[in-house]
């Protein structure tokens, strides 16, 4: 797994909060740094990649285990 400079815990949050928390979180990072977003909302499975593609931030890796989705995003 990539090393994350920051983790956003959006577990238990429903749409659109995981995306809003991700957008807020990424502002605190420097370009090139990686942020980990953890979510349990089923909408996040498509929403976080859609947000990354829309904003130009890179979704480096994602995985899902025990109902928790993990997204590693590199700030552009």
């Amino acid at each position: 797994m990539p090393e994350a400079a920051k983790t956003v815990d959006a577990k238990g949050q429903s749409c659109p909060m995981p995306v809003l928390m991700t957008a807020k979180g990424i502002k605190e990072l420097e370009s090139g740094q990686i942020m980990l977003v953890e979510a349990t909302d089923n909408g996040a499975r498509s929403d976080i990649p859609a947000w990354a593609s829309q904003t130009g931030n890179e979704l480096v890796e994602s995985e899902e285990a025990d109902g928790v989705m993990k997204f590693y995003i590199r700030k552009k």
Binding site: G12, Q13, S14, C15, P16, M17, V19, L20, T22, A23, K24, D41, W51, Q54, T55, G56
Partner: protein, 165 residues
């Protein structure tokens, strides 16, 4: 159709017309998410859509019997917003809020705050304010200057997405 290159996030304008509780959700969810995705987002609040922008502690708005009666039937304030269907004297709205809470869906008040935080342009319609007698001092903080149809249209003409909710 707005001109922008394919990798720019684009823009969206929503005409918030209804003011119903169940329509505040999509309005604020789409606008906050759009702004979070880097879009230039504007919400133009007009007609019934203006009532949720009145502070919850303002009991009534209007300048005469008829405008006061309209506000009486359409209680001002976001907390008092009704469901567009099956409101059942407010119990429908109460149930919808309970269901939302149970499913961790943020209430419209919180999503509205997110919109403000994310920099969504929140424009009240000047004409409706005059028509219904809603004073600027009766409205919540953090709104843009009241504007008219031409300003809204100017924004819409440049928006990639235009919605009427």
């Amino acid at each position: 159709m707005a001109n922008h290159d394919d990798d720019s996030p684009g823009s969206m304008t929503i005409i918030a017309f209804s003011g119903d509780l169940d329509k505040l959700w999509p309005t604020f969810i789409l606008s906050s998410t759009g702004a979070a995705s880097g879009m230039d987002v504007t919400v133009f609040f007009t007609f019934w859509g203006l009532f949720p922008l009145v502070k919850d502690d303002v009991r009534i708005t209007g300048y005469d019997a008829m405008t006061k009666a309209l506000a009486g039937m359409n209680a001002p304030g976001m907390k008092k917003a009704k469901l567009s269907k099956l409101n059942m004297g407010g119990s429908g709205a109460w149930m919808m809020r309970k269901v939302a809470e149970k499913n961790k869906l943020a209430p419209p008040e919180d999503l509205f705050e997110m919109c403000q935080e994310m920099g969504v342009n929140l424009w009240p319609c000047q004409m409706t304010m005059d028509l219904l007698g809603i004073e600027p001092a009766q409205m919540v903080d953090g709104l843009g200057e009241p504007v008219g149809a031409a300003t809204a249209l100017q924004k819409m003409a440049k928006s990639d997405i235009n919605l009427f909710i």
